[in-house]
């Protein structure tokens, strides 16, 4: 058998059920891989004792012959998920030392299904970033290199992406507010799905922008995404926006038959200055879907260009409200105060010390667009344009489109530090193809489809109808089979 840490979830599940390996052996293989991969800075809190205890419990359960698909599967958990008794910092100095007294619904569901937690994964601070360069833990590093240069794994789920791509775990949890699962998945040659808003509970996930945040799996292939999403999804009374809908058997829906499906190609996603190889990959993707029997049609989503500016009103506005909770009183950092400092100085110094520059900027920007006199001009206008962006999608789905094919990102992964002198808007453009999906609450998946001239992975994105993750995964499964992406990064770490 291949090195156990390189297995997929499906491969490991089948081997476990046949008794060909054990959860303990899988877990030890991953722990060994993690130990040798400090250079990637993907795992930032290690929980080997928990992992081995969970693995032994999973092995006992497997022996009874009644074990769910995720039983015994070693995972990495993004640092945004509250894990009981285990440091949970959202990659921020603000939450240094914070150990939740409770378990997020998603990690609880995964652990109830028998999954194993190897540790917590690096990310951008409070999930605000597209390169994992705003983390208090330092940069996570992409296992893929271009000409020996250190590249970003993307963000905000950069540690999750790097860990899965480097086979440090079988899969990882991610979260996606504007593209934070799909962009890093594309940058590291792995698969990531953002489910429909409301499919996965947000309870116990450190909040960034509550109307946009959704958790999802980051995996080595589409089948694994189906298996893991199944375990993460479902109604949760503790999240009032969680949908009271049954979760279908996603893996059973991977028939590979997409004959007659109508795939839309949105003309507004053809951007000036887009690299030719991404343009080519996109066209090849459309050809593959056509070859599998789908009908490919040109569509229009006319408000696409306004998605990023809408996002950069709504996300900071919600962040400024959500992050008001970090006041140095109930949990997290509190600044050392000078003699005579009152409660206002405590708030101001605590938040200046605890939040990094990007988080401060977004919180203040959000404060501004919500402030008296600007609320209508910015926040309310953005919410109206958001309605129009969603209406664009409603219209094409009403016309019988089953899924929409786009590039996942406007470029391959860039070098760490390359964007340091760019203004924030340049960095935000990374999310130009992904952010529309969050604004409209839709499911979308990024999957690897090729390499650029420098040997860096490139991804395609499929956007689905609301609640139709099963159909979306099936179309992605067909595209995955046609693309035949099997490259792995050469090990340098």
């Amino acid at each position: 058998m291949a090195d156990l840490n390189t297995l997929t979830i499906a491969g490991a599940r089948d081997a476990l059920r046949k008794g060909e390996t054990t959860a303990r052996a899988l877990t030890e293989a991953c722990l060994g891989a993690i130990e040798g991969a400090g250079a990637l800075n993907a795992f930032v809190h290690h929980t080997p004792d928990i992992a081995l205890a969970q693995a032994d419990a999973a092995d006992a359960r497997l022996k009874t012959g009644d074990a769910p698909a995720m039983c015994g599967i070693p995972l990495g958990i993004k640092d945004l998920f509250c894990t009981k008794g285990v440091p949970t910092q959202a990659a921020s100095a603000m939450l240094a030392g914070f150990r939740p007294e409770y378990e997020s619904t998603i990690t609880r569901q995964l652990f109830d299904a028998g999954a194993v937690m190897l540790g917590k994964l690096n990310m951008d601070e409070f999930a605000m970033g597209s390169s994992n360069e705003t983390s208090v833990y330092g940069d996570a590093i992409n296992p893929w290199q271009a000409a020996g240069r250190k590249m970003t794994p993307g963000g905000s789920s950069g540690g999750s992406a790097a860990a899965v791509a480097a086979d440090l775990c079988l899969a990882a949890t991610g979260t996606d507010t504007g593209g934070s699962i799909r962009q890093p998945a594309a940058f590291t040659g792995i698969t990531g799905i953002k489910p429909t808003y409301g499919r996965c509970s947000r309870w116990g996930v450190v909040a960034f922008a509550s109307s946009l945040d959704q958790a999802g799996p980051m995996t080595k292939d589409v089948r694994d995404a189906a298996i893991m999403l199944q375990a993460m999804a479902g109604h949760d009374p503790k999240d009032s926006t969680s949908a009271k809908l049954a979760v279908p058997d996603f893996e059973a829906m991977l028939t590979g038959d997409i004959r007659g499906k109508r795939i839309g190609i949105p003309r507004e996603y053809r951007m000036d200055g887009m690299p030719a190889e991404i343009e080519r990959l996109w066209a090849e993707g459309a050809d593959m879907l056509r070859g599998a029997g789908a009908e490919v049609v040109d569509i229009s989503l006319p408000h696409t260009k306004y998605a990023l500016p809408v996002y950069y009103v709504i996300a900071p506005a919600e962040a400024s409200s959500n992050l008001a909770r970090y006041d140095g009183v109930r949990y997290g950092h509190r600044a050392t105060l000078a003699a005579g400092d009152g409660i206002t100085e405590m708030y101001e110094k605590t938040r200046a010390e605890g939040f990094g520059p990007q988080v401060q900027l977004r919180v203040m920007m959000g404060t501004y667009v919500l402030s008296a006199g600007f609320y209508d001009a910015y926040y309310n206008r953005a919410r109206k344009v958001r309605s129009l962006i969603k209406r664009d999608f409603d219209d094409v789905f009403a016309d019988g489109i089953d899924a929409i094919l786009t590039p996942a990102t406007p470029s391959a992964a860039f070098g760490l530090g390359d964007m340091a002198s760019a203004d924030p808007v340049q960095m935000y453009l990374n999310d130009v193809f992904t952010v529309t999906v969050n604004l409209a609450g839709l499911p979308a998946i990024a999957l690897p489809a090729g390499l650029d001239a420098q040997g860096m992975p490139l991804g395609l994105q499929l956007i689905g109808r609301p609640w139709e993750e099963g159909d979306l995964l099936n179309i992605a499964h067909s595209l995955e089979a046609s693309a035949g992406f099997v490259s792995k990064p050469a090990k340098w770490w």
Binding site: S211, Y312, T344, M364, D423
Partner: protein, 95 residues
């Protein structure tokens, strides 16, 4: 619309984030870069468009107004930077 140093100072105050005086001009410049980007929303015709409140059409659920948990004072205080005698402790607020 352009943000000056005075506005940047006011926003920082509203957000309860201490920004040193010499950092305010750079902050104002960053705000202006973002606002310049957002300005393009002005060209969209939004007449008669409802602002989005929920991306999915579902109604927020209601439940009976009853206590469903409690008795977890120790857990609630466990992560507090300063907890004393069962309370969160903060600097003196009133003389």
């Amino acid at each position: 619309m352009s943000i000056d140093t005075e506005t940047a100072r006011r926003v920082a105050k509203l957000a309860r984030i201490r920004v040193e005086e010499d950092k305010l001009p750079a902050l104002a410049a960053e705000f202006n870069a973002m606002l310049g980007f957002i300005e393009q929303l002005r060209e969209v015709n939004v007449d008669g468009v409802e602002p989005m409140t929920s991306v999915t059409p579902q109604r927020l659920p209601r439940r009976a107004d009853v206590v469903t948990d409690g008795g977890i004072q120790d857990q609630i205080l466990a992560n507090a930077p300063d907890a004393r005698e069962g309370f969160f402790a903060v600097p003196k607020m009133v003389e």
